[in-house]
């Protein structure tokens, strides 16, 4: 037996304070709402007290952003680019600190925050820094919108911040951003990076708090643009709140993506893609491949290979460098995953998990797969947002397309086949914003991302991502 000894990343690199305020007009200030605790989901220890921004605080933040907008939008694009490049480099310099803090507050494995999240965060700032002085060539004009109110989720706290802030700033907007209440810490560390980069006060403002703070940001009359990533439920509320105003809106919401494996697929890599599709970030991924559609002719061998592979996943301390599956982000989310999984069983699907010891404290859920799932089962329809895979089968390419599209969502899809023509045929027919071929959960700042149907509207990333932040 070759057992890997614990290999924890050191926490010392993070200077964790006992309490955090809001970041408004370039300064950390007290919030007027009651403070709340943010915990380490792997241990339930309190990491820090964080201020709640009241609607007055949000108003101050929006005013600061409005005041900063004039000078910021008047800067030549090449000057704004300098700030963004500086921020990108500072993110790289402080990558370890940011990665450790992200894993502490979110529960995701350090391997992912270190090797996926942080490189992408820096890449986003570098990429949009490059656009700042070339907007005239993008085709959406060069006129910014004004103040952007941005509300982001807890699954990729810093990466979602980058997706929102980098294009907004590149286009000449100023922002008020609200991170999720369970993962506010890296956004506040990012605020420190903005100060370090000498970003003019008010260009970036961070207000922390729960749903009410987010609602205040969205509803503020002086906000010109609202960008939200999160659940479809909250997305609907925001769409209603914004309806009838002049605010421009982009929504990136839920998903129930199909990962479609044909019988001629490269089996070993398909298994890796399935694992990466649903167990990456504990399945807390809006574009997760939560429905495996496998061709009936290879169902048995693929499931055998998949189960063997799940047996090698290493669940535990998110800061251990060898951990593959970290903690569920919150007690609420864990309850939701448990409820839907129990529902899956009671509706008749067969549940399976590898032998897997869960830590005694914290929020944990084993990697789980359901076989014998029918389209009508709740676990095939509802977004679970956890490490739970529903396995369905199909017989023909047409049936695969029909089943894949038969969902109110349409964020992403995966196709596994060695046949190039079939990939193109499928991609033409799948109603999903992203179709991955022989890979899954691959992100790049140059590539637009966004949904069909109830997965939202608007695109983030790439040239397309500029449109959301310009007055077209």
């Amino acid at each position: 037996m070759f057992e890997y000894a614990p290999a924890p990343e050191s926490r010392d690199v993070v200077d964790l304070r006992s309490s955090y305020g809001l970041f408004i007009n370039g300064e950390f200030v007290e919030g007027s709402g009651p403070s709340f605790k943010t915990v380490n989901p792997a241990t339930e220890e309190t990491l820090a007290e964080v201020a709640t921004a009241s609607s007055d605080d949000v108003d101050r933040a929006v005013q600061a952003a409005r005041k900063a907008f004039g000078a910021w939008s008047a800067l030549p694009g090449s000057e704004r680019a300098k700030y963004l490049f500086r921020i990108a480099r500072l993110i790289q310099e402080r990558a370890r600190e940011l990665a450790v803090l992200e894993s502490l507050d979110n529960g995701k494995p350090i391997r992912e925050s270190r090797d996926v999240d942080l490189p992408l965060v820096a890449a986003h700032f570098f990429y949009y820094a490059g656009w700042a002085d070339k907007l005239a060539y993008a085709g959406f004009g060069t006129k910014p919108l004004g103040v952007a109110g941005q509300v982001i989720p807890w699954n990729f706290p810093l990466l979602m911040l980058a997706w929102k802030i980098a294009p907004a700033l590149a286009c000449g907007n100023t922002v008020v951003l609200k991170p999720a209440e369970t993962t506010p810490l890296t956004a506040l560390l990012f605020a420190d990076i903005c100060r370090q980069a000498d970003l003019p006060p008010g260009v970036v403002n961070i207000v922390t708090g729960a749903g009410e703070t987010g609602a205040a940001v969205v509803a503020h009359p002086d906000v010109n643009k609202v960008a939200f990533t999160g659940s479809t439920e909250v997305g609907r509320i925001i769409a209603r709140a914004v309806a009838g105003t002049n605010k421009k809106l982009t929504l990136e919401l839920g998903g129930k993506a199909a990962n479609i494996v044909f019988d001629d697929a490269a089996v070993d890599q398909a298994v890796e893609g399935i694992v990466n599709g649903i167990f990456f970030n504990q399945g807390h991924v809006c574009c997760a491949g939560s429905r495996l559609l496998v061709q009936e002719s290879i169902q048995e061998e693929l499931l055998a290979a998949l189960k063997r592979r799940l047996g090698t996943l290493r669940l535990g301390d998110p800061l251990d460098k060898n951990t593959d599956i970290g903690a569920i982000n919150s007690a609420e989310q864990l309850a939701k995953i448990r409820r839907l999984s129990d529902l899956g069983e009671s509706e008749g699907a067969e549940r399976w998990s590898p032998a897997c010891e869960l830590p005694g404290r914290g929020f944990w859920f084993p990697p789980t797969l359901f076989t014998g799932v029918a389209q009508s089962h709740s676990i095939a329809r509802e977004e679970i947002f956890g490490p739970v895979l529903s396995v369905l089968t199909f017989r023909t390419p047409a049936e695969a397309v029909e089943k894949a599209n038969n969902t109110p969502y349409g964020l992403s899809a995966g196709v596994w086949t060695e046949k190039g023509s079939r990939i193109l045929w499928m991609a033409d027919r799948l109603r999903a914003g992203v179709v991955w071929a022989n890979t899954f959960n691959k992100f790049d700042p140059t590539s637009p991302f966004g949904g069909y149907k109830e997965s939202g509207y608007g695109r983030e990333g790439g040239l397309h991502g500029l449109e959301a932040y310009l007055d077209v």
């Binding site: 037996m1 070759f2 890997y4 000894a5 290999a7 001629d264 070993d268 890796e272 060898n322």
Partner: protein
């Protein structure tokens, strides 16, 4: 594997049947295989796990010298190192030499339990007749080789003459007698990962006891994705046939880090059953001293200079 439920006995009945079988194996996606190998390369093996891995790696080394300048003196020196690498480190698994030096190694290693491996079959190119390859093998075995490292005919493989490759392996295996046969695929010349998988299966079907990546004379040699694919092949072959085949990456493995990455690949792909010198070897020469240096560092907390490790 559905393709494997066809009776494996019939697979090598004709060139057409063999081709249909090998081309019916699931493909390998290069991007995905590279990504998986790279991810496993990030495993952090520290403290007690590192100590265990270093000793395991030492015990798996096929200590090798394959130079035109090799002499009896050089081989004897290497054999002495193989038996007692240094300190209380374990002995290596085998030494690997050219056929004409097998008898020298056999004398030097008598009674030690260390195996004598010999390359044969017109190593490294394999460009000679089957008769010469077979007698090359027989002479090495007669001189005392426990293991034969043969090369496949890559030209025949690349031109689709799978039966020729198969029959040569069968003939060399017969000449091996009781000696174990390691079949070198020379993956650097096969070029695609699909070819690596097909050649692995071809060698196993023909009776290989081990499949080995490279001669060490061609670059690239034992890259992590290639070793990964070969480990998947032996795993799937055992599932299909019940017979276990060993794997030997060789060439380009120079540091302790490289060696540990290989052990991680084994651990998370083929599994525990392959984590012994009986089923996994590391073909290397300079690797051993780096393993010894890291071993001492782990025990004492300090690096000793290179002069404290013998150059043999």
């Amino acid at each position: 594997m559905s393709t494997l439920t066809t009776s494996l006995a019939d697979v090598a009945s004709s060139d057409a049947a063999l081709r249909a079988f090998l081309h019916g194996l699931p493909g390998v996606d290069r991007v995905g295989a590279d990504q998986r190998a790279a991810m496993l390369g990030t495993r952090s093996i520290k403290t007690s796990a590192k100590a265990q891995a270093i000793d395991l790696a030492i015990s798996m080394v096929d200590l090798t010298t394959l130079e035109g300048a090799d002499t009896a003196g050089k081989v004897r020196a290497m054999c002495a190192k193989a038996v007692r690498p240094g300190g209380d480190a374990p002995s290596v698994a085998a030494v690997c030499v050219y056929p004409d030096l097998v008898s020298v190694a056999a004398d030097a290693l008598k009674g030690t339990g260390i195996k004598i491996a010999s390359v044969a079959t017109a190593f490294p190119s394999g460009r000679t007749s089957l008769e010469v390859k077979v007698s090359d093998t027989s002479l090495a075995v007669a001189a005392g080789a426990d293991e034969i490292d043969m090369v496949i005919d890559r030209g025949a493989f690349l031109s689709g003459h799978y039966m020729k490759v198969y029959e040569e392996i069968v003939a060399v295996k017969a000449a091996c007698g009781a000696a174990h046969l390691k079949v070198i695929l020379e993956t650097g010349e096969l070029s695609t990962y699909d070819n690596v998988r097909r050649a692995s299966w071809l060698a196993m079907l023909a009776g290989a006891d081990f499949i080995k990546t490279s001669t060490g004379k061609v670059s690239p040699a034992a890259t992590p994705p290639v070793t990964l694919i070969m480990l998947e092949a032996v795993r799937d072959f055992r599932d299909a046939t019940g017979r276990q085949v060993g794997v030997k990456p060789a060439g380009g493995i120079r540091t302790t880090k490289d060696a540990i990455k290989n052990l991680v690949l084994v651990n998370e792909t083929a599994g525990d059953d392959w984590l012994t010198p009986e089923w996994f070897r590391l073909g290397a020469s300079s690797l051993l001293n780096d393993l010894l240096m890291q071993r001492q560092k782990l025990a004492t907390g300090r690096y000793a200079g290179p002069d404290y490790f013998t150059q043999d």
